[in-house]
């Protein structure tokens, strides 16, 4: 799966991961794929909420320990 943009928000806490994600998505086209990784305790819930609100399709959601990586299509 081709990922058009990877966003690393590891060690950043809410709301900075969401702000960074929203800022990047605004610059991308519909149909492009984004991968975002973070370790903030509320990171997973926040990104899933963000995708639901923007009707973005979740392609992958992986957790390794405290680190979560989510791939979605804009």
């Amino acid at each position: 799966m081709k990922v058009d943009k990877e966003i690393d928000v590891l060690h950043k806490v809410c709301p900075l991961p969401l702000i960074t994600l929203a800022k990047e998505v605004r610059t991308m086209a519909k149909g492009q794929v984004v991968k975002i990784s973070g370790d903030d305790p509320i990171f997973e819930d926040s990104v899933l909420d963000f995708c639901r609100e923007g009707e973005h399709e979740i392609l992958e959601n992986n957790r390794e320990g405290r680190q979560v990586s989510i791939v979605f299509k804009i």
Partner: protein, 728 residues
């Protein structure tokens, strides 16, 4: 302890300070004491900060100060201030301080999103750091190297309004529970400041909106006042009368013209029932007309007020008016009043009546013109034959003679009547000759007053100027005036007639083409006088106070004087009498012939041609002229006259004089015939005759080549004298 003086006070302060320092030193020596001192200092700083924030009322500044001070208090890399939106389903970062602050300011999320969302929904604090359990779901625990976070909710009196969120401890590591306590305390303090500032801002917004509303309303009010003023000016300036009423039919507005016509001012009329201010009646029946406001309010339709409606003003003055009325409707088409528009048509009606009279006169003129020709020819025959018969009898004592004289008189009266009617036909142009007015006046007055109990007293200036007049017409004027004067004095009396020269007319009321050299004639009686209300109408055609009057006498008088470029006016007092004053322009010419010859000139020898379509006229003229020794040739029309004239030209008996009728129905008349005659003989002598004494050709006959005129019907003496004059 009692302090007696200033020195004691100073000493006491110094001693207390020393004791304070000692206590502080002692506390510093223990861990617990140090913590207490730190807490005291933090608390003092904290109170100072809170005070500063609470005193600020600008909400954006409050958020900025809160974020900045909060960051200082807990030594955070960044502090953000999430505030729940009025809809309470989202929150927005209203304040931010530190790294990435600009990026976050104004951003927002749904209430359930993020750590802030968790705090705002659960209304609980959150410390993501080393010494505190993670309360959310134990999914993760803070580890060294991660950013620590500290979040506390903020409440006003009743509910959560937002929170404070500190992210990243300066220098790394985690926020402590002590930071949490300070943050909570700070949040409680600043929530009041935020609420105050919010209330203040709401208040300011309301005030701002109110100010805007007031300003808007003021503008609308100003515009309305301007419009009202313009409307009032327009209404007051409008040439028609305008009255508006409310739905009770009471006057709301009355414009200037309406004020004048009704006799009520705006302040007097306002609130009065319309019928009181706007009193209208039928001019014919004198009955009050229906109240137009009531009719309009009842039917909701536009109405026109009937013709012949009179408005009775407050002072009783009556005016003819034309009027219309309409309902006034608001935006929803509801009737909110009535507007009436009316105008004074008194003068306009008078002019219409005048016009009608003029048209009637024109009809009379056409009728008169139509019958004049034939009627005059008949009169020529009657009058001429009576003259001839009188001459043939030749004896004044003959028993037939007075009968013939009476018949002649009757014929002359018929002639006068015809001339009166003819004044109205063909434009009535006077045939002017230079004349002395006293003779005309005396002859006319004596003629009218013969046998009556009224006499004339003359006051005539010796050096009276001559005038250029149509004697017949001026005689008619004098006769009319004298007759009226005599009728005004049924018991008899004197009529004063005066004539004088007027060098300059100074009265501005007398409108004349020039100001200098007029003859003033005044005719005064001491009769019953003319009532004031009809004095303006006496010159109107068909206006008469006499049972048998035609109503034409004074109208003709006025017409004749006007056509002579003169002026006539009247002045009267009831029971005292009436004076007519006439101005006629003085002539600069010498009199043509002021000595009236009554003698018939000696018989002449000449050949005279009579051209007339009427056999009676031809026969009479032949009889008269033959009796005086003239040879007479007769022609029916211009064509025959030309032929006869040409044939006779080179014969032993050429035609010396032609008397030709101006108008030949269906044939060549005098105007055309004289041109042909003059082509044959430019020296030919031609007299023109017509019943239309006021025909322009008769008035200006010389311009058309005629050497004299004679108006039909004519007397023998008149004809013979003229023929004799022309031939000599």
């Amino acid at each position: 302890m009692t302090v007696n003086n200033h020195t004691d006070q100073q000493e006491l302060i110094i001693r207390l300070r020393e004791e304070n320092d000692l206590l502080r030193q002692a506390l510093n020596d223990t861990e617990c004491g140090r913590k207490l001192i730190q807490q005291k200092d933090e608390f003092s700083q904290f109170l100072g900060i809170s005070k500063a924030i609470v005193s600020e009322l600008d909400l954006s500044k409050v958020f900025e100060m809160v974020a900045n001070r909060a960051r200082e208090i807990v030594a955070a890399e960044m502090v953000i201030v999430p505030i729940i939106n009025p809809t309470r389903d989202r929150y927005t970062y209203m304040g931010a301080s530190g790294k990435d602050a600009e990026e976050l300011l104004g951003k927002g999320f749904k209430i359930q999103v993020g750590m802030c969302g968790w705090v705002l929904q659960n209304e609980r604090s959150l410390l993501f750091g080393e010494s505190n359990d993670w309360w959310m779901d134990e999914k993760t625990i803070w580890e060294e190297g991660q950013q620590s976070a500290l979040l506390v909710p903020m409440f006003d009196k009743h509910q959560i309004i937002g929170g404070l969120s500190a992210i990243g401890k300066i220098g790394g590591g985690s926020f402590s529970t002590h930071d949490l306590d300070l943050f909570t305390l700070f949040a409680n303090q600043v929530s009041i400041a935020i609420e105050n500032a919010r209330l203040f801002q709401d208040h300011q917004n309301i005030i701002g909106k109110l100010k805007q509303e007031i300003s808007k309303r003021k503008k609308i009010q100003t515009a309305l006042e301007k419009e009202k003023e313009q409307l009032a000016i327009t209404l007051r300036s409008i040439g028609d009368g305008v009255i508006t009423t409310d739905t009770d039919g009471k006057v709301v507005l009355i414009n200037k013209v309406a004020e004048k016509l009704c006799g009520w001012s705006q302040s007097e009329a306002c609130g009065k029932p319309l019928a009181e201010v706007f009193r209208i009646i039928s001019e014919e029946t004198r009955e009050p007309r229906d109240n137009p406001a009531e009719t309009i309010l009842k039917t909701g339709e536009i109405i026109e007020i009937a013709n012949h409606t009179a408005l009775i003003a407050r002072n009783g003055t009556e005016r003819s008016i034309a009027d219309s009325g309409a309902p006034i409707r608001d935006k929803s088409s509801q009737i909110i009043g009535v507007v009436l528009v009316f105008r004074d048509v008194t003068e306009s009606n008078r002019l219409k009546d005048e016009l009608l009279k003029v048209k009637k006169l024109e009809s009379v003129g056409v009728l008169a013109g139509g019958i004049a020709h034939d009627f005059n020819n008949i009169l020529v025959a009657i009058l001429g034959n009576i003259n001839l018969a009188s001459q043939i009898i030749g004896d004044d004592n003959h028993q037939v003679y007075p009968l013939l004289k009476d018949a002649e008189k009757a014929s002359l009266r018929a002639k006068d009547l015809t001339q009166q009617l003819l004044t109205f036909s063909q434009g009535g142009e006077p045939v002017r000759k230079t004349a002395a007015i006293p003779e005309v006046i005396k002859d006319s007055a004596d003629f009218v007053l013969r046998g009556s109990n009224v006499a004339c007293q003359y006051h005539i200036a010796d050096d009276l100027w001559l005038v250029e007049i149509d004697k017949g017409q001026i005689s008619q004027v004098i006769q009319n005036l004298i007759l009226n004067a005599s009728h005004a004095m049924p018991q008899g009396g004197n009529i004063q007639i005066s004539c004088e020269n007027i060098k300059t007319i100074s009265d501005p009321g007398i409108l004349l083409p020039r100001k200098n050299n007029y003859l003033k004639i005044t005719i005064s009686d001491s009769g019953i006088g003319i009532p004031k209300n009809i004095i303006d109408k006496i010159f109107d055609p068909y206006f008469s106070t006499k049972q048998k009057g035609s109503g034409l006498g004074l109208a003709i008088t006025h017409s004749i004087i006007s056509k002579h470029d003169g002026h006539i006016s009247v002045c009267s007092k009831l029971g005292e009498g009436t004076t007519f004053t006439i101005y006629l322009p003085a002539s600069s010419k010498e009199p043509q012939s002021l000595i009236k010859s009554t003698e018939i000139p000696p018989v002449g020898k000449a050949t005279i041609m009579i051209m007339d379509d009427d056999e009676m006229v031809r026969t009479l003229a032949q009889r008269i002229l033959s009796q005086f020794g003239y040879e007479v040739v007769l022609a029916e029309d211009g064509k025959e006259a030309i032929q006869l004239y040409e044939n006779a030209k080179d014969s032993p008996n050429p035609i010396d004089l032609i008397i030709m009728d101006l108008t030949i129905p269906g044939g060549m008349g005098g105007k055309e015939a004289i041109e042909k005659i003059h082509q044959i003989n430019p020296e030919a002598k031609v007299i023109v005759t017509s019943g239309y004494s006021n025909d322009p050709i008769m008035a200006n006959h010389k311009e058309y080549g005629f050497c004299a005129t004679i108006t039909k019907p004519f007397m023998i003496k008149e004809l013979i004298r003229l023929v004799s004059q022309v031939l000599s």
